[in-house]
Assembly symmetry: C2
Homo-oligomer: 248 residues x 2
Amino acid sequence: MQRYFINPDQVSDGQIEIYGDDIHHVKNVMRLSAGDCIICCDGEGIDYRVRIQQVEDHRILCRIEERFLSEGEPKLRITVAQSLPKREKMEWVIQKGTELGADRFQPFTSARTVVKLDGKKASKRRERWRRIAKEAAEQAHRGRIPVVEPLLDWNGLLQSFTAYDRVFFAYEKGGHPLKEVAKFPSDASLLLVIGPEGGFPESEAEEAKAAGAVSIHLGPRILRAETAPLALLACLLYSNGEMGGEPL
Amino acid sequence: MQRYFINPDQVSDGQIEIYGDDIHHVKNVMRLSAGDCIICCDGEGIDYRVRIQQVEDHRILCRIEERFLSEGEPKLRITVAQSLPKREKMEWVIQKGTELGADRFQPFTSARTVVKLDGKKASKRRERWRRIAKEAAEQAHRGRIPVVEPLLDWNGLLQSFTAYDRVFFAYEKGGHPLKEVAKFPSDASLLLVIGPEGGFPESEAEEAKAAGAVSIHLGPRILRAETAPLALLACLLYSNGEMGGEPL
């Protein structure tokens, strides 16, 4: 059944009102009409099964038939901080990271980041990434859309470390095997820091460590910059029982 | 240090002889010459650190300085059977599956497979996939290149199940959470069967089960056809201690 993310303020008195871009999708892409059912997700953990009552040009009225807790969200809240890779790779990471269960995406620039994004371009790119996260969240049956944060520079990223319970810094040149250090409460907030395609300079690895990050690797094989965050998400959520395991 | 896969017959009397396409890469891409070191992998688990002695037009002679067991290969041997997805997705699965540690790739067609490949096209496509596996294996520091098998049809795939210790069939509409059934010897051979973008028809799920497959899911989130094999590889190898864990 087709799913759409809505805002909580679209819900009132046993009804849900759909407006904006989703109207075109409901009417013309899915070709749904009065009597058909869809799922509306409020992005805050509640899903509604609704029946379409009235299709108008600028809004669609639906009656709520059932309301239930979204099952799609992990307790473990993982933010993927990705050093800006070449264009389509970031889109892959956001799409597949959203399917796997990432909480948030934090693009950043490191000394070795090749891609540069000025203000206006960064804004447009971020909008595109947000659309990708929304579509992936709908397809994957997420309960909310992972947030894509504005681009941070290296110092900005370092300063953000204190907001997390653990910071894991993906570094092939040293560090702990992930299994050794992957011990945290099941509802912890984790930051995964993934470097540029050429790897982090040693100076940045030292700065990350000084700021509280733990260097980890998933060796012995070397993973590309766009593969590492997906492997880390899968391993961490799986060992937390939130990926084909016991629900917590 | 740059790595090249060679055949064991290129090794003799303390020397290794490089020929073919790799000559261009050594001379013109990496710009290496006499005195420089590279790693040669024999594809059967032995790596050699060698020093280039002589660079000729059609061969490069190297002296073996050190010989060691390749560390890149998992004990757990996982074959990824992928229902043929649209073109670049298969390349993505082979590239990233190789980085993660897949043993082999088995493309197949299911009733709902959209992509059709006739004999000649299938041959060319397989050659391309093999090149992708080779490059990914070199970059990821694998000890061997995962084999890409010829395309099988559905019945052919079913008949191959008996060759494996376990067959896991990725199916969202039912089945066990992966963790429940992921119990096997650390050197087991596993087959992962991943369906087409639209999902497997129920009839094929029944046939797979009758042929000995266990249906599994990585829920509650739905993964795309090209994401599922990568998540499964990561989770299985990680829990086997072969991905940032204790070596077995």
